[in-house]
Each structure stands twice: as C-alpha cells, then as structure tokens.
C-alpha cells in the first residue's frame, strides 16, 4: 500500500471545478515533483491533502488516503493531531506563515507544545536543536528573532526545521525555493535531499523550475488546467514521454551550453 493515495479527486472553489480527476500515488521515501503552468491547480492539490483548502474550496469527488486513513473523513481534532506531526507542509515563504509579531521561538514553542506535553524550556531547546540541524548557525539567536529579521533562505530553513520537528512521514512543499536566489535555492534543494536520505520522509514538491523538479523527483507529475496530463518516473518523463505538453515544457527549459537564439 502506498503512503499517500489520491484517487480521482475533483476539487472545486464554490461552483468552479478547479481540479479534475486527479490521481497520484506516493510510496514511502519517495519524492514526487509536481510541475505545470501557473494556475493549473498544483497548490490546490497539496492543500487538499493537508485539509487546508482556502475559502470555499472543497474536495467534491474522489478519495485521499494517507497510511490507510481516509483523510476526507477526519474530524477537526484528528486533523490537528495529524497536521504538523505526521504530515507537514512547507510554503513558498515560510516566514510569512508565521506570526510576524511574535518571536520565531514563540511560534515554534507554541507548535511543539500542541503536539507534545513538555515544558516550555524543553520545547525551546528542541526548537534550537532542530534549527541547528538545518545548518543554521546559532539556533538560539534565530529563535529569538522575528520572522522578518531573517533572510529568505534562513526563513525557509526555519520552515523546514519546523516541518521536520516530528520527522513526518509525509512532507508537502509548495514552491519552497521560488522566492529565493539561485544560490540559496541550491542550498535548500540539497537540504531536502538530505532529509529524505536521513529520515526516509516522503516528499511532494511543487515547483516551477523543471530543473529542480527533475533533480529532486523520483517521480514527476505534470499538470495543466486542473488536470494531471502526464506522470511517471523521472527517466520516463524526461526522455520517453510522448505527451506534447511535457515535451513543450522540456524543450523550453534553457540549458547551459544549449541552444542559442543569437
């Protein structure tokens, strides 16, 4: 049985059917990259997995099962246990997903203390440890900072640290590197890879960057206008797929030493 199974899922915002008949399987320890044009529903799909569709969004058909649990039938309480513990999510800008007026440490401690019955001091120490594990020097200083005091790369690493606190089985990442400089992006990508290698975490990563998707993903899913148009192993997608959209995309990726226009 796969860790995560998305079967024929339809997602709508109010009356608009945004994602149609989406299916996706993820094994333990596997990384899946989702690529596709802007607005094609990538974020929507992983938000649906998290049970956090914004506004009037809801899953209108299909099943999502995680580790044998039907996610669509969970109560609020069960969700709270799962979220942040078994399943974590990392956003495009992790800094923005934290209360700007509280210290990172406070948000972190609040988070740890919802999942674990430990003292504030221990929770703090745990936070420091996790942050330092993400190769941010001086975790205590980071904990004592406000989100906006850190650079984008640092914030993203704090986000990853938080996401990895309970070594989730499943990590959902929505464009975790799009807001970063190329050099920082490389650092973050590297860190993701290490997570999988160390903890065996399964990851779904949404990205615009086909290079990143290809580098990270064991599996690549291509979406277009709310539909999964192509998916498969990396090698298949890169070299064997006959899907015209996939081909169009791959063809458009500029490569070093590749085609020149002038």
């Amino acid at each position: 049985m796969s860790l995560l199974e998305i079967k024929n899922v339809d997602i709508s915002y109010g009356k608009n059917l945004t994602v149609k008949n989406c299916s996706l399987n993820l094994e333990k320890g596997e990384i899946c990259s989702i690529v596709g044009e802007s607005g094609s529903g990538k974020t929507t799909v992983i938000r649906a997995v998290m049970g956090l569709l914004p506004g009037a969004g809801r899953v209108s058909a299909g099943d999502i099962t995680y580790d044998g649990i039907d996610l669509l039938k969970l109560t609020h309480k069960e969700w709270r246990k799962l979220r942040g513990h078994d399943v974590s999510m990392i956003f495009q800008d992790s800094g923005a997903m934290m209360n700007q007026t509280r210290l990172i440490g406070d948000s972190y401690v609040e988070y740890i203390m919802t999942h674990e019955d430990i003292s504030r001091k221990d929770a703090w120490a745990k936070g420091v440890e996790m942050i330092e594990r993400m190769r941010l020097p001086d975790g205590d200083r980071v904990m004592r900072s406000y989100p906006f005091q850190l650079s984008g790369g640092q914030r993203q690493r704090v986000g990853i640290a938080m996401g990895m606190t309970y070594q989730p089985k499943l990590l959902l990442a929505d464009e975790p590197t799009s807001a970063l400089d190329v050099t920082t992006q490389a650092q973050i990508v590297r860190q993701f890879m290490e997570l999988r290698d160390e903890y065996g975490t399964s990851i779904i990563i949404v990205t615009h960057n086909l290079g990143v998707a290809a580098y990270m993903g064991d599996k690549i899913v291509v979406m277009k206008r709310g539909e999964v148009v192509d998916q498969g192993e990396r090698e298949y997608i890169l070299h064997q797929s006959t899907n015209p959209y996939t081909k169009l995309l791959l063809d458009a990726v500029p490569t070093l030493g590749g085609k020149r226009y002038v």
Binding site: T183, L210, L256, R260
Partner: protein
C-alpha cells in the same frame, strides 16, 4: 570584441547611495562601468538586491546616480532635464518584470500600446486603433486584443503587450528588468524568441536583467555578473560556462538546475549570505563566502582586469 563605433551607452564610475532612515548610507551601486552596443544584448546577472535594477533605472531616468556619468550618443544623460529629457525618452524604453503590474488596470490594451506614441504626438487619437493592431501583430498577438483590458489576458500575452509598448517608439535601447522571470518556461521561451527576433529586425540594444545564467547564456552577447553593487565579471555570452572564472560566477553556474544535468551529482554550494549593503567589506565584496579567500582579499578590493578581449574579471586570483 564589439566595434567601438557601435557604442551606444557608456556608463562610467556610476555609484548610487541611498540614505537610510537612521542616517546611514546604503551603497546599491559601487563604481560601475558598463558599455552597451547597438543591436547587442547585455545580460546583467546577480543575486537579489545586488543593485541590478538600481543601475538600469538610471538609463530610463527613473533615478539618478550619486556619482558618475552615463553617456548616450556622447551626451551625459544624468544631467538631462526638461524638454531635452523628454525628447530623449523616445530612444530608451523599458519592459518591467511583472506583466500583471506593469499596466494601468483601467486602460485598454490599445491605449496602453499607443500611449507612448500619443505622448510624443506621433499619431492622432483617431489613428490609435490601426496603430495598436499593427503593434500587436508585430508581437504576434491577434489585433482584436486592442479592445481588451490587461486582466483578461495571460501573463505571456501581457508581456508581449509590454514589449509592444516598448518598441512602439522604435527606441535604440530597451531595458528589460527580469522581463521573463514571472512567466512559465514555455511562455518564457516564446517571449525570448520574440525579443531576439525584434532585436535583429530593428537593431535594438538590450540591457537584460536576469537571475538565471542558463537563460541569459542563450541569448546575451555579453554578460555582466554583479555582486553587492559591484561588477565582478564581464564576459561574452557565448560559451560562458567555459570562460567564466570568478568564484561567484562559478557558484552561480553551479546553482543552475536543468533537465540535462547529472542528477546523481551532489550540489556544491557556497556558504552564508551576502553582507549588508549598509556596511560593505573593505576588501573583495565576496570575500566572506569565497572558498578561495585569502588575506589580501579581505583588505584589498580587486579591480576589473581584462583577461582576454571582452572578458574582464575582478578577483585577486587572476591578478599577478
């Protein structure tokens, strides 16, 4: 490498400092020298906040340098004012990064693309419809788009409109500030193709700001790498990955992911963060992150030196 006869814009010792609220100075551009040639593209790459936009904005009179001169046809454009400035605006246009924010949402496409022409009385308002169609067709858009509003169009289409607006006055030079980074790769490709085609047809010089070395390599004639307000390397666009040698340029190169790379290769990356532009290091701006940093680098700022024609680098590793 380029014919000096074709020299269009010559920026000399351009420096820009912004006073901050607490009375300190932020150096966004630090003694920059760059040359732009007719019909050629100069790609400017570098990390976010390194001063790329700040520099390009001087060329379109959206800002003025604190020091230095910028010659356009031999005249210093940083001193232009009033009518002279207005006249010269026709020759230098700009395409902005985000196609969704670079139009007045309340204006129709035809008003947008014809605005420059109307501003310089090149057409009468009655000729707007025809002219708009013509311009739209030039950027491979259906002429009917003239009556749409920008929000009814896709990102790629909007960026074409932006290009149409920029070339409407037939300028000699266009600044493109990350003109394609908000677009999907497939759309990006078509836009780049369009730009290069128009450049060839109209012999336009382009200053193109970009993050992506892979992309810039594919169409720039020369590439300048900027770091913390300094130009650290200038090199020809073609075969860039072979000649580039500044440690920062190499780091940029190593950060490029593409679909043809070796996926088993571990990513090499540089450590740390760039220093704050509020207090620049006395030596090489890259010294705190450079794997080859020596004591000299920490104290002495390297100057751009020419390695081969068209290839300059500012690094002590390459000065004897």
């Amino acid at each position: 490498m380029f014919d000096e006869k074709d020299l269009l814009i010559d920026a000399r010792h351009v420096t820009r400092r912004f006073p901050t609220n607490d009375g300190r100075l932020l150096t966004a551009c630090d003694d920059i020298n760059l040359k732009f040639y007719k019909g050629k593209t100069l790609g400017l790459v570098g990390e976010s906040g390194c001063g790329k936009s700040t520099f390009m904005r001087f060329l379109v009179w959206l800002d003025y340098p604190t020091e230095g001169e910028i010659f356009f046809h031999g005249k210093d454009i940083t001193k232009m004012k009033g009518a002279e400035l207005h006249e010269n605006r026709q020759h230098i246009q700009m395409v902005f990064q985000d196609p969704s924010t670079s139009f007045n949402p309340k204006m129709k496409i035809k008003e947008i693309v014809c605005e420059p022409l109307l501003n310089f009385n090149r057409i009468k308002p009655s000729e707007m419809d025809a002219k708009a169609r013509e311009l739209l067709e030039l950027v491979e858009l259906p002429g009917d788009f003239a009556d749409r509003f920008p929000h009814n169009m896709s990102g790629g289409q909007r960026q074409r409109v932006a290009i149409a607006r920029a070339i409407a006055l037939e300028p000699e030079f266009i600044v493109m500030d990350e003109a394609t980074s908000a677009l999907d790769v497939s759309v990006q490709k078509t836009v780049i193709e369009l730009i290069t085609r128009l450049q060839r047809e109209k012999n336009i010089a382009i200053g193109f700001i970009c993050h992506d070395l892979g992309l810039i390599e594919s169409f720039a004639h020369q590439v300048a790498v900027m770091y913390l307000g300094n130009i650290v390397e200038v090199m020809p666009g073609e075969g860039l990955s072979d000649v580039c040698c500044h440690p920062y340029s190499r780091a940029l190169l190593a950060s490029v992911f593409d679909t043809k790379m070796d996926f088993t290769k571990k990513i090499e990356n540089i450590k740390g963060e760039p220093p704050s532009p509020l207090d620049l290091p006395p030596g090489c701006p890259f010294s705190n992150r450079c794997p080859h940093c020596t004591e000299r680098c920490e104290h002495e700022k390297p100057k751009l030196v020419e390695l081969t024609p068209g290839h300059e680098v500012a690094c002590h590793l390459f000065t004897k």
